[in-house]
Amino acid sequence: MAECIIETRGVTRSYGEICALKPLDLQVRDGEWLAVMGHSGSGKSTLLNLLGGLDRPDGGSLVVGGVDLATLGEDGLARFRRERVGIIFQQHHLIPHLSAVENVMMAQYFHSVPDEAEAKVALQRVGLGHRLRNRPGELSGGEQQRVCIARAIINSPRILLADEPTGNLDHASTVVVLELLSELRAEERFTIVMVTHNQEVASRGERTIFLDDGILVREELSGR
């Protein structure tokens, strides 16, 4: 088995009374495509936020990309987010008054320095070479999600975290986005952790884990 890029031990997270994540052990291989399923409120987004350094666990240890997140201060965590992970949400969180290419450059800016040529190439790779100057409002849902992908991978993250990336998309757009993720993963060799409600989408991954009430109840390897 290849080395682990994500390794959690007894990670917990509660919001007041609600225990969103019971002690959870999870290992993800470097380069693996992992799908996370479970009914609403089962703690999928909570897990993803912890892996992305957007949130801190109440207990347990969390090693992502060789970094123990507990040892990082706020600055270190911000840097971890900038340099190690790319994140895609169901709601695209694009900046509405900036064009597609400017949205991608924004991510470059927070990471290091903007580089327009590189941002354009990234958009061309997701098939949006002809929509560089359009704002998110002028793009379809699928196109918006592809801008998000370009933005998420622009800083060459080792891990791509996707929270229901296709949740808002119709079947055709979903296929386009998933194809794109496959292609990019083949080229860039990043690890994907993807939350989804859709069995078919989940089957794109190599392994699926099922959460129920914050507990990892089951895992399945895909046949493909």
């Binding site: 470059q108 990471h111 290091s112 060459s156």
Partner: protein
């Protein structure tokens, strides 16, 4: 130990020098603490060996020379892209440890000089105390350098601009060492001479109708602000040049890195590094401002009595009684003012140690008539901050107050009023540059 209070700012500047050196040059803290501490100690005890006037001249000369070198280096820096790095490299070996040691010696000598009263003798105890304080600061600074924030990463010229600024700040905390006031004097004189040359060579029209117009503008060149602002420009220019040079320094190429994110990270780190180098010139500018402030508003208290109004009798004789208010024989300067026809002529009487009187205008023949104050064993010209040892008061020349002929009469000192007025007018005319403002 009141004397030690006078060197608090200089000692703080010295501490700043050590911190900057600890961060700015590669030598280890032990070498830096030892070398710089020893040289500061040597410098601060020099007044025990070398007569202080000589030491003052040496201090000012070397500091001014170093400043001139910084000027040249900073111009070299903006001359062509990449200059900053080039100058930094060229000056590296010379500027590293050697420069640090020289700066330490100068700082020590500066602090030592400040502790020696003008014309007085050095007090070994005060000098020792300052030396001990300086050595402690050297050690503390050398080792505290590593705790400085990461953004303080000066470039070669930036570091030396800061070190020199701190040295100039040490200098300006004593009127005797101050380099800014003499600089403003030089600028003033240069501009005056320049304008005079223009008139001499008839390059400026000297026509009755044109003349007043021209003078309106020429007058600006003679205003007291010209020397000051000229000095400010000369003081800050190298710092400005260095900041510009840092801005213009091209960043190393990152084109060889294939991966975009890595390339951008490296680029960002270069940009950050270059931005951090600006901290030194910015700090240097702040320190220079403090130096100029100290030079303009010296914190020394001078004896400066308000001028007493006097009148002349029918024969034009002004008699200052020896006994009474004020008592002119007490060894302190006593100022008087005689008004006549719109002219207010100020003069003072000073009884010297040998019992002789000196009677002089409250003005000299080269500066604007801002007058004098009396410090320890010396007068100071408020305009150019030159110190006039008390025993030379009454002698003509330089920035000495212009002597007045007087007679000792029974019960007082007698001065001829018309003579006083003429002398005052001539002096003021010479120094205020034809129609310049009068006090």
């Amino acid at each position: 130990m009141i004397a030690i209070l006078k060197v608090i700012t200089p000692l703080l500047c010295w501490g700043g020098m050590m911190l900057s050196l600890a961060r700015g040059i590669g030598s280890g803290p032990t070498l830096l603490a030892g070398g710089c501490g020893a040289l500061f100690l040597t410098g601060s005890l020099l007044p025990l060996l070398v007569p202080s006037p000589l030491l003052v001249v040496a201090f000012k000369g070397v500091t001014a020379a170093a400043f001139a070198i910084l000027w040249l280096a900073s111009i070299g820096g903006i001359h062509g892209a990449g200059g900053e790095a080039r100058v930094g490299h060229a000056a590296g070996p010379l500027a590293g440890r050697g420069g640090a040691f020289l700066a330490s010696l100068l700082a020590g000598a500066g602090v030592g000089c400040i502790l020696v009263p003008a014309g007085g003798v050095a007090q070994p105890m005060a000098l020792m105390a300052a030396a001990v304080a300086g050595v402690s600061l050297a050690v503390a600074g050398a080792f505290a350098g590593r705790f400085l924030p990461r953004w303080f990463a000066p470039s070669g010229t930036g570091l030396w601009a800061l070190i020199l600024a701190l040295l100039l700040c040490i200098a300006s905390s004593s009127p005797r060492l101050d380099l800014f006031s003499p600089l403003t004097m030089r600028v003033m004189k240069f501009i005056h001479d320049f304008v005079h040359q223009f008139f001499e060579s008839m390059l400026l029209p000297d026509h009755p109708f044109i003349r007043p117009r021209v003078w309106e503008y020429i007058g600006i060149l003679f205003s007291s602000g010209v020397g000051f602002w000229g000095g400010v420009v000369l003081f800050f220019a190298p710092v400005g040049f260095i900041a510009t040079a840092i801005r213009l320094t091209p960043l190393p190429s990152v084109a060889h890195i294939r991966r975009g994110a890595e390339r951008r990270l490296l680029m960002a780190s270069y940009i950050r590094q270059r931005r951090h180098q600006q901290a030194a010139p910015i700090l240097a500018a702040a320190v220079l401002s403090l130096a100029i402030y100290q030079s303009r508003f010296p914190s020394v208290d001078y004896w400066d009595p308000a001028p007493v109004k006097v009148t002349a009798d029918a024969a034009g004789k002004i008699l200052i009684p020896e006994k009474g208010e004020p008592e002119i024989g007490d060894g302190r300067m006593h100022k008087f003012v005689y008004s006549h026809g719109g002219t207010e002529a100020r003069f003072f009487v000073l009884a010297k140690e040998d019992g002789e009187y000196a009677v002089t205008l409250d003005a000299c023949s080269i500066c604007k008539p801002e007058g004098y104050g009396q410090g320890e064993s010396a007068l100071i010209c408020y305009y150019c901050k030159t110190l006039i040892p008390l025993d030379t008061v009454g002698k003509p020349g330089g920035c000495n107050p212009v002597p007045l002929p007087f007679r000792r009469e029974k019960g007082g000192v007698a001065i001829d009023a018309p003579l006083l007025l003429r002398s005052w007018d001539e002096t003021v005319q010479a120094t205020a540059g034809g129609g310049g403002e009068r006090r």
